[in-house]
Symmetry: C2
Subunit: 460 residues, 2 copies
């Protein structure tokens, strides 16, 4: 049963499993104790720290283990901000960071600080100079992911780091998605990662803080991990994390090339196999194993369930699959279609046949979901009954507003206007995206009595 | 090789190991995902929560898993304080709480709040009425351990809870040391625990918050664990923690009685076998598996190393074994001897022979450490050369100041004064304790040009 959601959590790497089992008997005692069980635990911890530091590209004493990537981000950002409180309380982040970064930014704002979100292009990438432009005299910290977790776009870390360095601002790099594939480009001041993304166990994050970077751990004091990560360390998991990071790095070049070819196949063939699909993310500067596309007239949750029934485990940034009813902030920031969004992230070892089978199955699954939703068959019917039309899609969830727009556009003459009333947040993204895909003109939006009015001019 | 430091970390229980292995293959995926691997993970998580909640004595939706007992305390205290910020920013704790609680109190104070430490008796126990007396109109939270981690004294949780209830203040109970032996007495509002203390894996803490208790999680938002514990959950560890808690509970009555008898043997025989030993902690109301004693004229670190060489892994609250150079705050609060402090905490399954062997070995080890330090053989020499004497022990670490006092007391006549100058924090505890053990009069202390002057009047 192919599992294509490695970007959420990778299955345990065999080396991780082996190391975990081996250290269950040696690694349960307190490494701070002086007796033999404690000394053995300390040796394991030290060795794991050295191995992980080597893979990260830092000194062992710059690296601490945290209970998760999320905690590494929360504690790393809080500590770096506090370390430079005298400079100011402003934080710069990209608009497509992991929610742990954006929630840290929101927490800073709630506590009286402020933050700036750096915009990305349609491929999800930060522009050169964008960080330089966002830095202010009171900026305490900037944060940028090494690669995006939803669309796979690799960020210009070295350039952003240089811009930050020139301004004397430390840069924190969230390397959660890329660390398996190689070290982060030079120039970072703080780095975070998460073991279960590379096939290590859950329960282990990394937080590296370069010597000389001001850092003031927040929250109650604790002696563990240089005072930067409170709580008794989960040693068997830490040992497994370090061992598996080393293992995936040894396989990275070969496996990366293999998965990159499989992903290229998906990127190329999905738009050919499935009508009205937008493949999103930077086409060239990307992670080897991850591809994301959105399907017009498709409801993400229904599509995921249908793919699950067909035996494929994938993820989605569509609004319908989250509890917030808003499409993924990443797709929003990119301004791309969010309907029927599918993220395929291949774990190491993914078989070519499984990818082929996915490509076989996908067109039928999408067509069936579209049929269920009553999506219009392309091309849309060409009739004309009025020069202007208002479609009331209030209370209807994505992708229904877009489907109703598509079905009605033919009812106005070329040059005529269709106004869609919708209170679904995804419409803001998906109606302009539909216009782009259908070569219709998106005029704009205005507040309506209920929800928002989206205005489209028929062009073809 | 007998390991007698279960109170730091218990070796992995066989059931924990089994459950961990079994769930490595089923429990790596994200339980928030809709596909089959995610659903399987969710089932495991739900089942573990139900089992742990049953052992704790709460509803499953009142319980979240945290990455450690320390994080449960940090996050639980911060959330409970924030939930009642309108009432005030005052916290009540006992003086013998775990450092994670005391550090939380210090963090509160640093942020502008305040706290009161409730004193304990010489047995380490909070007095009835002491919590009631410490509560104020602006008290947001009170915290009390179920049992002390260094001396094993069981606290009057039900009484303190009733005092808090009457004042409308929630009580947080740190059950880290006792949860293996049974549920906490009724009346608590929040409860924390740590799996590696009961033979579960590291990486799992428990935080239970009763329905109706105001709780506002602090730090950046996160959807996991009802918003109360950020980060991807370590499911195999959580499953192992829950399974082993159930297992140790089933064994608790039998194993508790067996260990209680072994501990009683140590409590009774150590003072008979080793001269000048003080067994500390409440003699009756205590954990079944833990006993602590202090040895006059002995340096804790040397004693621990000697016991380690003899094959015994034990812990110590003596100043010489910690990085802070201050004796354990627990021994300080109890006002008992801290020199040569040894905590023996027996893991489940400890063999009677190992305890017997410990009792065989201990007298020789202590005698040898005392010889190395030049400790006086009892009784101290009786000569008299001056009516008053000043001993300069500045720069000398415990137990040297006490040893020098003991060697010199005979140099003044009965009724004469000996003043010890010392800059070792432990002297404040150990000189009065020595006076008590030797029936000499402890007159008091005063600041000296360097360090502190401790004045003793010879009585015998």
């Amino acid at each position: 049963m192919p599992y294509f959601d490695a970007a959420s959590a990778a299955p345990l790497h065999p080396v991780a499993r082996q190391a975990l089992l081996a250290s269950l008997d040696e690694g349960w005692a307190d490494p701070a104790r002086l007796y033999r069980e404690g000394r053995r635990a300390r040796l394991l911890l030290d060795a794991a720290r050295e191995a992980a530091a080597e893979a990260v590209g830092c000194r062992p004493d710059e690296l601490v283990f945290t209970p998760s990537g999320t905690r590494a981000l929360h504690d790393g950002i809080a500590g770096a901000l506090a370390g430079r409180r005298r400079t100011g309380r402003h934080l710069v982040v990209s608009a497509v960071e992991h929610s742990a970064v954006l929630h840290s930014a929101a927490a800073l704002e709630a506590a009286g600080g402020s933050f700036t979100e750096v915009a990305v292009d349609r491929g999800g990438r930060v522009a050169p100079g964008a960080y330089a432009a966002a830095l202010r005299p009171d900026t305490a910290l900037a944060a940028l992911q090494s690669a995006n977790h939803e669309v796979g776009t690799v960020q210009p870390v070295a350039e952003a780091a240089e811009e930050c360095r020139a301004a004397g601002v430390p840069l924190l790099v969230d390397a959660a998605q890329s660390l398996a594939w190689g070290p982060v480009e030079a120039g970072w001041s703080l780095l975070t990662a998460s073991a279960h993304k590379w096939g290590g166990p859950a329960g282990v994050g990394l937080l590296a803080v370069r010597k000389g970077v001001r850092f003031a751990p927040q929250g109650p004091a604790d002696e563990r991990e240089s005072g930067r990560s409170p709580g008794f360390p989960d040693l068997p998991a830490i040992v497994a994390a370090a061992a598996s990071l080393r293992a995936v790095r040894q396989e990275a070049a070969t496996e990366g090339a293999r998965l990159r070819a499989l992903v290229a196949r998906i990127r190329e063939r999905v738009p050919a196999l499935v009508p009205d699909v937008e493949v999103v993310g930077d086409p060239a500067r990307r992670l080897p194993h991850l591809v994301t596309f959105s399907c017009l007239y498709v409801d993400g949750e229904t599509l995921l369930h249908a793919l699950d029934r067909a035996g494929f485990s994938v993820s989605s940034g569509s609004s319908c699959t989250s509890s917030t009813l808003a499409p993924s902030h990443v797709l929003q920031a990119m301004g791309v279609l969010s309907e029927g969004n599918v993220r395929v992230s291949l774990p190491a070892g993914t078989a070519e046949e499984d990818v082929e089978r996915f490509l076989d199955v996908l067109p039928g699954v999408v067509a069936s979901v579209r049929r269920q939703l009553g999506a219009p068959a392309a091309p849309e019917p060409v009739s004309r009954t009025a020069s202007e039309l208002v479609i009331d899609s209030l209370g209807k969830r994505c992708p229904i507003p877009v489907i109703e727009l598509a079905k009605s556009i033919g009812d106005v003459p070329v040059g005529g206007l269709v106004t869609v009333l919708s209170d679904d947040e995804a419409a803001r993204l998906d109606i302009p995206a539909w216009c782009g895909m259908r070569e219709q003109e998106y005029v704009g939006e205005r507040p309506a009595e209920r929800g928002t009015a989206y205005v489209v001019r028929r062009r073809t």
